[in-house]
Amino acid sequence: MFAPYIEYARKAFAREATYRIELIAEIGSLVLRVYLLRSLWTALYAHNAAPTGLPLHSMITYTTVALLMSLVLEVDGTRIIREKLREGGIAVDLMKPIVVPFAYFSDGIGQTLVHALAILPSLLFALLLVRIDVPSLPVLAIFFCSFALGYGVNFFVNFLMNGVAFWTLETFGLQLIVRWISDLLSGQILPLSFFPGWFGRAVFALPFAAIYSTPLLLYVGIIQPAQWAAALAVQAAWLAVTAGASYLLWRAASQRVVVQGG
């Protein structure tokens, strides 16, 4: 029953793995960014007092881990939807005895796994350049749980954006905007606690915070063990909301394909 979907993931893995140069470039660029961000934060901290609760070594840990996470999270496993729509491949997929969104999800998993392979070498290179904090085992465990939930939220946010292609065919502009907003508001570039006043509080109420911010704040210890359950619950709630919205979008979209002929 799952055999077709496992095979979809394996084929996506094999397909992505054919782009070896791209993977090597990805690792190279990541190491460079780790180094540049370390220099940037070191310079900034030298001239300003440390923001509340985040000493320099935590800040460097935060940005480095964020960059490593981005190797996996920046893979848009759902762009296949957009491509299939534009090239009409979705019709061919619908002529197969499969549940099409499951097939695309599996394809996304396969793509992600390829890029996850780049994490280990990147980590080794990064450690040669910077020193990052390694938290205790329970913290690491909760970090990975949170990371998995964030992966889910990220997948469905991407799914929703690519799903817009069912109506507009082209989503590039929209995606660029959402990507910028998401990078900033997810805490990938800098901790969300840096934002002042009401804005600082509002960003925690958006789904983007569930992608990078929660796992990272768990990692650097800003979210204390007493708040762990609540933090993961919020992420799980966002996962449920984005997954539910994706389901509704797919239902409306497939109805549209089926009735309107794509």
């Binding site: 095979e7 309107q260 002929g261």
Partner: protein, 333 residues
């Protein structure tokens, strides 16, 4: 009981009509005006097991809309449809197990991966047992001569090789029904012939029911016993190729080559169609005119070097119907 049945099948596409200009676009936002386009307007046909149907018609006649409804990815606006006892759009996935589809303009193969990888994925999709998979893959490799490029990434294949791969991909699960949409488009004569030989053999030996959509009437003439001609969403002809040829094929052309320049040549009972240089073409009705008399007349009157009689080809007949309309009983507005 026929394998494929459609009864008064209809498909109407509704789209929002856009008025020109910014103001029009704004108006469309608040009170959209819809425009209906009838793609299939009451199509009834029955296809028996093992038939090889040529489903032809001009661009926009409703051919691919019909195929999409037969595959279950498009819901009809009205009428009935049944393929192997299944209503396709109600049970899309069940229907998918019975069909294989080949699009000449689109591939289902993984572009970046070796050809055989796409076959492995299909094996998993259809749950084909390993030994049966091996057996049928071996058969296809031999029949379609794919041995040399089975492990080549699809993007490096020639169009002819890719099409052969697509045929194998569509038939790996041995479906009883095959839909072919322009399968020979863009192929050279050798590749075309290889594909034709292959599908003819599949139809003959495995009894696969095949619906072929194409603009290449040589494909149809070579492969199909029956044609369904569709225009403006309705079947305007449905029957054996011989019948359409007989109904339209009453006209013959007498091609005469004179030995010297002849101005305005004429033969009683035949119409001069064209005169180019020394060659004149006369059209006559073979039911009312006798060929031997025409030949005698022309050679009595003029100095003739060569005479030939041309029979109409399917292509000419179909061109005539596209432009003039079908004169048969089913012609309607």
């Amino acid at each position: 009981m026929p394998l494929i049945v459609t009864r008064d099948l209809r498909k109407v596409f509704r789209s929002a009509k856009r008025s020109p200009g910014a103001l029009g676009a704004l108006r469309g936002l608040f009170s959209p005006v819809y425009e209906d386009r009838v793609a299939v307007a009451g199509l009834s046909m029955e296809i028996e097991r093992g038939e090889f149907i040529g489903y032809i018609g001009p661009n926009g006649a409703g051919k691919s809309t019909t195929i999409k409804m037969l595959t279950g990815i498009l819901v009809p606006s009205g009428g009935e449809i049944e393929v192997a006892g299944i209503v396709p759009h109600r049970k899309r996935r069940e229907n998918a197990r019975n069909i294989g589809v080949v699009f000449g303009q689109r591939t289902q193969l993984y572009w970046d991966l070796p050809l055989v990888d796409s076959f492995e994925l299909l094996r998993a999709i259809y749950g084909i047992p390993q030994d049966r998979y091996r057996r049928s893959l071996d058969a296809f490799v031999e029949l379609l001569e794919m041995g040399d490029f089975l492990r080549t990434p699809v993007r490096q294949l020639s169009l002819g090789q890719r099409m052969r791969g697509d045929f194998a991909a569509a038939m790996l699960h041995e479906p009883p029904i095959l839909y072919l949409d322009e399968p020979t488009i863009g192929l050279d004569v050798v590749a075309k012939e290889a594909i034709r030989t292959f599908v003819a053999r599949v139809n003959r030996e495995q009894g696969t029911t095949i619906v072929l959509t194409t603009h290449d009437l040589a494909d149809v003439e070579r492969l199909c016993r029956r044609i369904v001609l569709i225009d403006h969403g309705r079947a305007i002809f449905d029957g054996p190729i011989e019948r359409i040829k007989n109904e339209y094929g009453r006209e013959r052309t007498l091609v005469v080559r004179f030995t010297e320049t002849t101005s305005a040549p004429a033969i009683p009972g035949a119409r001069l169609e064209s005169l180019e240089g020394l060659t004149a073409r006369f059209v006559f009705d073979r039911a009312t005119q006798r060929v031997d008399r025409l030949v005698r007349e022309v050679s009595d009157r003029y100095s003739v070097e060569d005479i030939a009689i041309e029979e109409p080809e399917l292509e000419g007949i179909i061109r005539h119907i596209y432009t003039q309309g079908y004169a048969g009983e089913e012609r309607s507005a």
